[in-house]
């Protein structure tokens, strides 16, 4: 029978079908970080259970870590420090490899997985973090789990799962200059809503997807969860194989093993006549840069549009829109390009990879950040930081007036010192514009790296396509 990419991976990982209709799904890679793992290890200790396959679990620290050099050595916040020390202790006690603050390869968990070669086509990956969907860019079944499930994977290397539905998202056409992968995924979420993908695994197909680099594919898959989906996937192809083959990826196969793996990976793409539960087609030919105006990622529009009137937004009640605009401090009818920004954040697991920094640097090069605007540029990993410095991108950013930081989640969620102040407005390359996400009272607009950099220079949103 014809199978989808998802179905092929699922079938290969069913360790046992259970009587109640669920399955024990085998997990090939388990990524952990400081925020959602402590209670899972505590559970293991209380029950006297070991980690079943410690070599299949890899840890890093990202959410809590300060991104300024001096603070990294000596974390001021005692609770953050305790959480980080707890992870160090748990990894040591249970034999788990840790890429900690002292490691050259520390970084956001979803950035370092692919860098280290942990993320491979045809595997299953889970992590106690909803943006685990990022890894689906490799043709990997990857999804976020809660802490009880983290403990379950540590103890059994499996998860109890009900099979999700399949949802194909076909991106037709070709992206125009200045329009990016970030705009594709924001457009999709604006179309299906923040719960449109609930219960499903998305597979992104179409010529616009095939044309994307690995970095861009990761941006798309990263935000699948923002559309409510369990996971997002893209069939592996030469772009994928090339990424895995390149660079220093200690966990990736090499030599004959790599050839053998590629031969297998080539069998993974969905069969031509495989059926999906749902399909949607989005034409990207006329796609414009997207900017969110509200308090969830589905509240998004073209940069050329105006702040909407309550009652005029499909899928949202009048009250939803009123509440969102009130929180965001926006007046209906205002052109988005008239909205000023105070802070620009370039980074996160959505857009903190080397290509993202290169594109932002291109916009910044030879220009100056607008007066009064604070710009944080935060590489997604220490490897990205070193690569960027080797290319002198840090110099471009600093000359333009940006702050150049060490790797971490930073202002994506404001759990570390990088936070928006009350009523500060940001242009952010991250993935969530929820109330208070970047700091209490902070107002977040999600955009692509190019759009964020252009907003930093102009001091307000601009249509990057008209940028001279």
């Amino acid at each position: 029978m014809a199978k989808t990419l998802f179905q092929k991976i699922w079938d290969r990982h069913v360790a046992k079908e259970l009587a109640d209709g669920t399955v024990l799904l085998y997990i090939d890679r388990h990524l952990i970080h400081e925020v959602t793992s402590a209670q899972a290890f505590e559970g293991l200790r209380l029950a006297g259970r070991p980690v079943r396959r410690p070599e299949l679990t890899v840890a890093t620290m990202d959410h809590n870590v300060p991104t300024e050099a001096k603070e990294r050595k000596n974390i001021a916040d005692a609770i953050s420090r305790a959480q980080i020390e707890m992870l160090e202790k748990n990894c040591k006690d249970f034999g788990v490899t840790l890429y900690g603050l002292d490691s050259e390869r520390q970084g956001i968990v979803h950035i370092i997985g692919p860098e280290l070669g942990l993320t491979l086509p045809g595997t299953t990956i889970v992590c106690g973090d909803s943006h685990t969907s990022t890894h689906g860019a490799f043709g990997t079944l990857a999804f976020g789990i809660g802490t009880s499930e983290v403990e379950h994977v540590l103890a059994t290397q499996t998860l109890r799962q009900t099979k999700p539905g399949t949802f194909r998202v076909d991106f037709m056409g070709r992206l125009r200059p200045g329009v990016t992968a970030k705009d594709m995924i924001l457009k999709l979420i604006g179309t299906i809503g923040t719960s449109g993908g609930t219960g499903s695994v998305l597979e992104y197909t179409g010529e616009a997807v095939r044309a994307l680099s690995m970095e861009e594919r990761m941006t798309v898959c990263n935000m699948s969860i923002e559309g409510g989906a369990r996971a997002g996937m893209i069939a592996p192809d030469d772009t994928t194989f090339d990424y895995v083959s390149r660079g220093e990826r200690p966990f990736a196969p090499r030599g004959a093993a790599l050839d053998q793996a590629i031969a297998y990976w080539k069998t993974l793409p969905s069969d031509p006549d495989a059926a999906f539960d749902r399909t949607i087609t989005i034409d990207v030919d006329k796609l414009a840069p997207q900017v969110t105006w509200g308090t969830n990622p589905g509240m998004v529009m073209d940069v050329t549009e105006r702040v909407p009137e309550p009652g005029s937004v499909p899928g949202y009640s009048r009250v939803d829109v009123e509440k969102a605009l009130d929180y965001m401090g926006l007046t209906p009818g205002t052109p988005l390009t008239d909205v000023p920004v105070n802070v620009v954040f370039i980074g996160s697991c959505t857009n903190g990879r080397i290509e993202d920094l290169r594109r932002a640097a291109m916009v910044m090069s030879g220009r100056q950040v607008a007066k009064g605007v604070q710009v944080l540029v935060v590489p997604g990993s220490e490897s990205v930081r070193k690569q960027a410095e080797a290319e002198n991108l840090d110099k471009i950013f600093k000359a333009a007036g940006c702050e150049w930081r060490f790797a971490g989640c930073s202002m994506c969620l404001g759990m570390n010192p990088d936070q928006l102040k009350n009523q500060q407005r940001s242009a952010s390359t991250s993935n969530r514009n929820f109330e208070g996400r970047q700091g209490k009272g902070g107002r977040t607009h999600l955009v692509s790296p190019e759009m964020a950099a252009a907003a930093a220079i102009a001091g307000h949103f601009v249509d990057f396509r008209e940028w001279k």
């Binding site: 290969r12 990982h13 360790a15 046992k16 259970l18 109640d20 669920t22 024990l24 085998y26 090939d28 890679r29 925020v35 959602t36 402590a38 209670q39 505590e42 070599e55 809590n64 305790a82 490899t97 280290l116 595997t123 909803s130 976020g144 789990i145 809660g146 802490t147 009880s148 499930e149 403990e151 379950h152 103890a155 059994t156 499996t158 109890r160 809503g193 923040t194 719960s195 609930t198 219960g199 409510g228 369990r230 966990f251 196969p253 090499r254 793996a261 969830n296 009640s317 939803d320 509440k323 969620l413 759990m415 009350n422 969530r432 929820f434 109330e435 208070g436 996400r437 209490k440 009272g441």
Partner: protein, 215 residues
């Protein structure tokens, strides 16, 4: 885990859709390494006004809802992050049940709860009930008529009985796996470890593609 069989208590209304996990528990409270102490953090920012004092308008702060054990909300509750802390906060604030509507919008079904929130809930003995929107409206109306109204939720019978001006009973659907887990308060890990031999034999033939252990 505490089994869920039947619960009786006050119902508090929270008339908002798309309540995300950043609102349920703001991230500053995710730093704890313990599984307890999250009750106070539930809706921490929504409970307070800008000056930090408690907002008397917020339902959970109101005297007649103080001891509520059932929360009724709008669609897509618990969207956003995978943090189980959100469920811990709801449970440790004393809740046993959250009720939300499934909406149909432009022909699409908008779910009552986000996936990960719902699956985290079962693991913590929190019953999430999905109802058609009209039924949820009825509950909101009943509370408006009788603030502090109690209800009885019986998982075996799959019923919610509202003890408002008069008793009315609503039936709900629940997937049998979820129901069984909650009724028996099962420990998933212990159950899975009963299949340890099958996992071992699966591992013997399964290739995880892990090629190296870096130094």
């Amino acid at each position: 885990m505490t089994p869920f069989v039947k619960e009786h208590g006050i119902v508090v209304p929270l008339d908002r859709a798309n309540v995300d996990t950043d609102q349920i528990i703001p991230k500053q409270f995710l730093k704890s390494i313990r599984r307890t102490g999250f009750g106070e953090t539930l809706f921490f920012d929504w409970k307070r006004r800008a000056d930090g004092t408690l907002d008397p308008e917020f339902p959970l702060n109101q005297a007649h809802f103080k001891d509520a054990i059932i929360m009724v909300v709008r669609n897509n509750f618990g969207c956003g992050s995978s943090r189980e802390h959100a469920v811990w906060a709801v449970v440790q604030a004393g809740f046993r049940v959250v009720i939300a509507p499934t909406r149909v919008l432009d022909g699409n079904r908008v779910p009552a709860f986000a996936d990960i929130f719902a699956s985290n809930s079962v693991k913590n003995g929190l019953l999430t009930i999905e109802l058609p929107e009209t039924e949820v409206d009825r509950i909101f109306d009943a509370i408006t008529a009788t603030p502090g109204m109690k209800a009885t939720v019986d998982l075996t019978l799959q019923t919610i009985t509202l003890h408002g001006a008069k008793d009315e009973t609503i039936r709900f659907e629940i997937d049998s796996i979820r129901k069984d887990h909650l009724l028996r308060g099962l420990d998933d890990i212990a159950l899975t470890l009963e299949h340890a031999t099958q996992i071992t034999s699966f591992e013997a033939k399964h290739d995880t593609q892990l090629r190296a252990q870096p130094a």
